[in-house]
């Protein structure tokens, strides 16, 4: 069985048919060639497969592509060239927050979803917000430092909303 959906993916309109049982991760990677979204645990634990749907992070490994009808999707590819990408990318490089890079798209997208949340002023609340995104390389310190550097700063807020 299949369903016709219309969705905005990285700013472009997609209209077409998807199989009812197709997972969002396979739709993005196999049908659209958007390989920036990674897959690891496949059970909603590691966070590698994070994309934003209507601004909220979801695990694309357990989300149906047909549920995208009428929704706005952002993947890491959609951030390339935006001011947000530049600011956060800059901080990640400065703090050494990227090693193998497998977790990076998810870390960046999750952070983006929290950018406007003023409850994240301190490191403890940032840690809670980022919980459930696993990184096998950095030990998290560098990632938290990079995020603390830009989160809540006026620069990041401007870059986040004015992209």
């Amino acid at each position: 069985m299949s369903t016709v959906i219309t969705a905005t993916i990285n700013g472009r309109t997609f209209k077409g048919e998807v199989e009812d049982n197709e997972l969002l991760i396979d739709f993005l990677r196999d049908d659209l060639g958007l390989n920036g979204t990674r897959q690891s645990c496949e059970v909603e634990v590691c966070g590698s497969c994070t994309v934003l749907v209507d601004g909220l992070p979801v695990s694309s490994c357990c989300y149906l592509a047909c549920d995208l009808d009428g929704k706005v999707v952002e993947t890491i590819e959609g951030l390339v060239g935006t001011a947000f990408h530049e600011v956060l990318g800059d901080a990640f490089v400065r703090h050494g927050a990227v090693q193998c890079g497998y977790c990076t798209p998810a870390m960046v997208l999750t952070a983006k979803s929290f950018l406007d949340d003023e409850r994240l002023a301190d490191e403890e609340s940032l840690k809670r917000a980022m919980r459930g995104n696993l990184c096998r390389c950095t030990g998290y310190r560098a990632i938290l430092d990079a995020l603390m550097d830009v989160m809540g700063s006026e620069r990041a807020a401007e870059a986040g909303s004015g992209r």
């Binding site: 069985m1 369903t3 199989e19 009812d20 049982n21 197709e22 997972l23 396979d26 496949e42 059970v43 909603e44 634990v45 966070g47 994070t50 749907v53 909220l56 992070p57 979801v58 695990s59 357990c62 989300y63 149906l64 047909c66 549920d67 999750t110 979803s113 809670r128 917000a129 919980r131 459930g132 995104n133």
Partner: protein, 290 residues
């Protein structure tokens, strides 16, 4: 991992969703966020030819204050409820409890109804809602019945829901002045290894009502009888009694050993978390009496 083939149906009323499920019989299953169901299907633990999507059923949406309680649509996501001012006002501990569930991705998509109906033994809302004496409204669009949360679970992954019957809303009583609530939990992996929720009511510095729920260690939440030892205790004596209740509760539960720990380990957790939850609930209750 791929999903087996199935067809998704999208009814737009409670009545239609229930009728569809009844017509489909054992081949159909409701789905909301799918964070549990799709996982189970991926892992080959469940298989259905028809998924009845509840996301367009308006009866399952919304948060409404009704006199001294809050009515929460079963299709509301954890994330939506975490930020609800109506819930924060009536049951201050609830948003904090919800913010601890899973990770932000599961909370963005997963619903309160999906959590309860899946009846995974490791559940924060099941424990919390039993302690605060919430009631569930089950219905099919033409008839409905009300079931207290602590009577909803028959065991692990088993509830009193009939085929085609849906969880429509969760009614949570507002916490009155003089009553304190606390929810404590600990996780080893992703889901809680232990959850303990308590509700105590004070009158002139004496405990007049107390309710205790231990969750996530057995098939379904349990309500240890030992909590009755707290009734009548006053400020000077209650910390001693809390310790007794904690020890007796741990002795009374028979935890299921699983990936979160052995039965004995969980018993030890229960003792510690009962103590913490009761201490916190008493502190919260005292705060309101001043």
């Amino acid at each position: 991992m791929k999903l087996p083939p199935f067809e998704v149906h999208r009814p737009s009323s409670l009545y239609d969703a229930s009728r569809l499920l009844r017509d489909l019989g054992g081949d159909g299953v409701p789905i909301n966020g799918g964070t549990e169901l799709l996982l189970a299907m991926k892992l080959g633990l469940a298989q259905y030819d028809h998924l009845v999507d509840l996301k367009r059923v308006p009866e399952l949406r919304g948060v409404r204050p009704i006199s001294t309680s809050v009515s929460i649509g079963a299709g509301m996501t954890h994330r939506e409820l975490e930020g609800s001012p109506v819930i924060a006002e009536a049951v201050g501990e609830m948003p904090r409890m919800l913010a601890e569930v899973a990770n932000v991705r599961v909370r963005s998509v997963g619903t309160i109804g999906g959590n309860l109906c899946f009846a995974d033994p490791h559940s924060d809302p099941a424990t919390f809602l039993s302690a605060v004496e919430a009631t569930l409204v089950l219905g099919d669009g033409s008839t409905s019945r009300r079931v207290p949360v602590d009577q909803f679970f028959l065991g692990a992954y088993e509830t009193v829901l009939e085929h085609g019957e849906l969880l429509v809303e969760v009614t949570v009583p507002a916490v009155p002045v003089g009553t304190g609530i606390a929810h404590m939990r600990m996780k080893v992996h992703e889901r809680p290894a232990v959850t303990v929720a308590a509700k105590v009511t004070l009158e002139r510095d004496t405990i007049v009502r107390a309710r205790l729920v231990v969750g996530s260690v057995c098939g379904a939440p349990v309500l240890p009888q030992a909590i009755d030892k707290l009734i009548g205790a006053s400020r000077g004596t209650w910390s001693e009694r809390v310790r007794e209740v904690a020890a007796a509760s741990a002795a009374a539960v028979a935890p299921v050993a699983d990936a979160e720990g052995s039965s004995r380990y969980k018993q030890a957790l229960v003792e510690v978390f009962v103590r913490r939850a009761l201490d916190a609930a008493l502190a919260n209750a005292s705060g309101f009496t001043r």
